[in-house]
């Protein structure tokens, strides 16, 4: 990453962009008043990523671009040949932040400034009023309802969105044909109500929904599918991220799809194009998720020995596959399912494991250190692997890893490579997602102590969703590419990207 940065610094015309990047990132650092150097690094990586994704869909005939820096430059100046619609939209957004832009800027610099809000994703700048206004405007324009922000925020997480629970998101969805596709609406609701959870499931659901959109899409006259379709998809995505912030897996999936859309040749007919897109969705689904899962479970099973006592935390479809495969291979082992309040996903997980005929014990996370001393391995899935080797996963995973470490029990993380991402993060504050605090209130049959917590002005409830586990607590990451230490995530990323670019050229 550093290397690429250096290159960028040399590459003249990107200078401006880069500087903006730094300033922005520092701006972002203000709210989490720490680790400016590391963060800014992270942000730059983000810039790079974003520019690429931007670059990708703006250029057409330049095959095999992606992250190689040479391509970078070409991508940036490739914004001349842009469809009118594209330009118009840009200009509108440009006006919104007029003061931010010097009067005489070249197209690419405009482009970069246009990307400015995205550098530090707005989801992480909830405390920046101006930014929020911008986002709001954008949403309005796309006719996307906005969620009401909780009136009492958790101080530590002011920079993140904290929403009220709403009985219906879609209430305010306008019923115009131009609006959101019903499939997406449904999906959005399912996300918001946590009917669909788990990054795999969410990603798959998203792909299917997008497929539906593509099905129902017809290119308007004198427009190009490659441009217009993408424009069509944009509001849907932002709607979904309104319902629930996007998971890394979804982000990657969308990136992937967009890339393919933007690479559909002009002359290709709709039906062909659609078919092609279906295929690539299929591929993504099969290769990145299904096959990957197979490969991972193969690798993981080798690591499961007879007589093992395996501690698993929370709920992961991947881990389930691994365990049931191991059982199918005739391995004899025992599983201790550790669960965390308030959602108790692992209860469902437990049911499935029992159904698969695996011998299980079940405890809450408080008792983890009691059961850990009989454990021989810890196994959990990840929400994402960050470029600095930290593992973003369900909140509590880090605690389990820590306890495991203290009893020197090896910790194995299973994660498909499509969940790797360039973001870096060293604590659970910078980026995270806040769940509805009211879930903490319900404590089963007991009289709820917190039922009227809103009456006490000095009382706040915090219901985190993710946390990051530092690499030193994790023995190995099992990916479809093999067993890797989590410090070598960037390597994998780089490799993947090169593969992609080969694949597409």
């Amino acid at each position: 990453m550093y290397l690429s940065l250096q290159k960028k610094l040399q590459s003249g015309e990107n200078m401006a962009a880069h500087n903006d990047g730094v300033t922005a990132s520092i701006g972002a650092c203000k709210e989490t008043d720490k680790k400016i150097p590391s963060k800014s690094k992270g942000d730059n990586e983000k810039i790079q990523a974003v520019k690429e994704s931007g670059g990708k869909h703006t250029q057409k005939q330049k095959k095999g671009d992606s992250k190689t820096d040479k391509m970078e430059k070409q991508s940036s100046d490739s914004s001349q040949q842009k469809s009118k619609s594209e330009l118009r939209r840009e200009r509108r957004e440009k006006q919104e932040e007029q003061r931010a832009i010097k009067a005489n800027k070249k197209a690419e610099s405009e482009k970069t400034t246009k990307k400015e809000p995205v550098r530090v994703p707005p989801t992480m700048k909830a405390d920046d009023a101006e930014m929020q206004k911008r986002v709001a405007k954008k949403l309005e324009k796309q006719q996307i309802p906005q969620r009401t922000v909780v009136q009492r925020k958790v101080r530590l997480f002011n920079h993140l969105h904290q929403y009220e629970r709403e009985l219906s998101l879609t209430q305010s969805v306008p019923f115009s044909c131009g609006g959101i596709h019903p499939a997406i609406i449904k999906l959005g609701v399912q996300y918001a109500d946590r009917i669909i959870t788990g990054s795999n499931a969410r990603c798959i659901a998203l792909m299917l929904a997008l497929k539906k959109i593509i099905e129902d899409y017809t290119t308007p006259p004198q427009k190009e599918l490659s441009r217009d379709l993408e424009a069509k998809i944009k509001p849907h995505i932002s709607f979904l991220s309104q319902c629930r912030p996007m998971s890394v897996s979804m982000g990657n999936a969308i990136k992937y799809l967009k890339w393919h859309i933007s690479h559909i040749p002009r002359e290709m007919s709709d039906s062909e194009a659609k078919q092609q897109l279906y295929d690539c969705i299929e591929n993504f689904f099969n290769e990145k998720i299904m096959l990957a899962a197979k490969a991972i479970s193969l690798l993981a099973c080798e690591k499961i020995a007879d007589g093992d006592v395996i501690v698993v935390y929370s709920c992961s479809s991947l881990i389930r596959k691994v365990l049931s495969d191991a059982l199918a291979q005739g391995k004899s082992f025992r599983v201790i399912v550790v669960d965390g309040r308030p959602r108790l996903e692992a209860k469902e997980f437990l049911r499935r494991l029992v159904k698969d005929g695996i011998k299980c014990s079940y405890v809450l996370i408080n008792a983890a250190s009691y059961v850990m001393q009989e454990a021989t391995k810890v196994l959990f899935g990840a929400h994402a692997l960050l470029a600095n080797g930290y593992v973003l996963s369900r909140v509590g995973s880090s605690l389990i890893a820590l306890i495991a470490k203290s009893y020197n029990v090896p910790v194995l993380v299973c994660c498909e490579t499509y969940k790797f991402c360039e973001r870096v993060q060293t604590d659970s504050f910078v980026f995270n997602e806040l769940d509805d605090p009211d879930y903490l209130v319900d404590i089963g049959s007991k009289p709820a102590y917190l039922c009227d917590w809103r009456d006490y002005s000095s009382l706040t409830l915090l219901n985190l969703i993710f946390d990051v586990t530092p690499p030193e607590l994790i023995s190995v990451v099992i990916t479809e590419l093999g067993l890797v230490p989590c410090t070598s995530v960037p390597v994998v990323l780089r490799m993947q990207q090169s593969i992609i670019s080969e694949g597409q050229s």
């Binding site: 059961v371 820590l402 917590w453 706040t460 993710f466």
Partner: protein, 356 residues
């Protein structure tokens, strides 16, 4: 043949003890303080209501009754502590009555003594005038110490909490509660309370702190590690302090202590002296270390089939090794865990460490 009055009193006493035992078994006695307090008051009754002539007999009686109570719920160590403490008081009073001088001298074994081969008194058989009165009086003093211990600890709050700190605590310990509230009267700070499922005392504490106007945030147990990086101090209560400086504290404390260590956040334990136990329980699997209650809180009984296939555990306590503890704040001041052994030697007589 005892006079009927004797019998009456005896029965009444036995009844009280029995019912206390029953309550211990059903775990209806809330909080270690109450357990300790009731034990002491029962022992006072034992001393006053039973018939004995010499200190030796008395010690025997107290030990016997004490054992009964201790057996009822071995995990309630404070019962045992109190019994030992009372025994110690008896010995002291006896010694002072005998020697005339108040202090019996350090009863602990020591090389020094071995060399000088001067044994401390070990026959308690001589009859001593008005020993009963003396003992009861001494115990009364001790009782006062018990009652005030909480406040004494709270009084030290300001030495440990400074303004704008972020403090994490777990469970609901009366000591910690008053400690924090006391500090809040002078200083402004933020408290993060771990709810500590499945008993949720944490939530209870949070509400009471919020009522006291302390800025409180409730987190679930899983989020401990995530939040720890922003915490300046972890202040927890405990159930027992082991002889080796280890802790027996509410379920989940070990994880918290580890997280604190990992982020090198100091871990301060508020404990009254009566929680010090001469026992050396150094693992979860030691008998009578932990208490396991009905798994119903973890997994509802109505969950159905899976129950028959799944083992569910619901331990109440957690063991925190001494090396994770930074400081003990007791009613006689702050101590490092490595110093616990000394405190013990002051509290209990070595012969009483093993009562059975």
């Amino acid at each position: 043949m005892m006079p009927t009055g004797e019998i009456e009193r005896k029965e009444d006493l036995d009844e009280r003890i029995e019912s206390f035992i029953a309550e211990l078994k059903q775990g209806t006695v809330q909080g270690t303080y109450n357990v300790a307090y009731r034990t002491v008051s029962l022992l006072v009754r034992v001393i006053s209501q039973t018939k004995w002539n010499t200190a030796k007999e008395l010690i025997e009686i107290v030990r016997r009754e004490g054992l009964k109570m201790m057996r009822a719920q071995p995990s309630e160590t404070s019962v045992g502590n109190m019994v030992r403490r009372v025994l110690k008081i008896i010995r002291e009073e006896y010694a002072s009555a005998l020697k005339g001088n108040s202090e019996e001298g350090d009863p602990q074994e020591s090389l020094h003594k071995m060399l000088l081969s001067e044994g401390q008194i070990d026959d308690y058989s001589q009859p001593v005038a008005n020993l009963k009165a003396a003992v009861i009086e001494a115990i009364g003093e001790f009782n006062r110490e018990l009652e005030t211990s909480g406040d004494n600890i709270a009084a030290q709050a300001l030495e440990h909490i400074h303004s704008n700190e972020v403090i994490m605590t777990a469970g609901k310990s009366r000591t910690v509660e008053s400690f924090l509230k006391n500090a809040a009267r002078k200083r402004k700070f933020q408290v993060i309370v771990v709810e500590s499922a499945p008993f949720y005392q944490g939530q209870e504490l949070a509400v009471s702190l919020a009522k006291a106007g302390i800025e409180t945030t409730v987190i679930n147990d899983a989020a401990v590690f995530a939040i720890m990086s922003r915490v300046n101090k972890v202040i927890i209560g405990t159930h027992t302090v082991m002889a080796n400086g280890g802790l027996k504290a509410i379920n989940g404390s070990h994880a918290i202590a580890l997280a604190a260590k990992h982020h090198s956040v100091p871990l301060i334990v508020c404990t009254a002296m009566f929680k010090l136990s001469p026992q050396n329980m150094c693992s979860y699997d030691a008998d009578a270390f932990n208490k396991f209650v009905s798994p119903n809180d973890v997994l509802k009984f109505s969950e159905g089939e899976i129950l028959s296939k799944v083992q569910v555990f619901n331990p109440v306590f957690d063991f925190v090794p001494a090396e994770l503890v930074t400081l003990y704040v007791s009613n006689i001041g702050g101590n490092a865990p490595s110093y616990v052994y000394r405190l013990l030697s002051e509290l209990y007589h070595p012969d009483d460490h093993e009562l059975s």
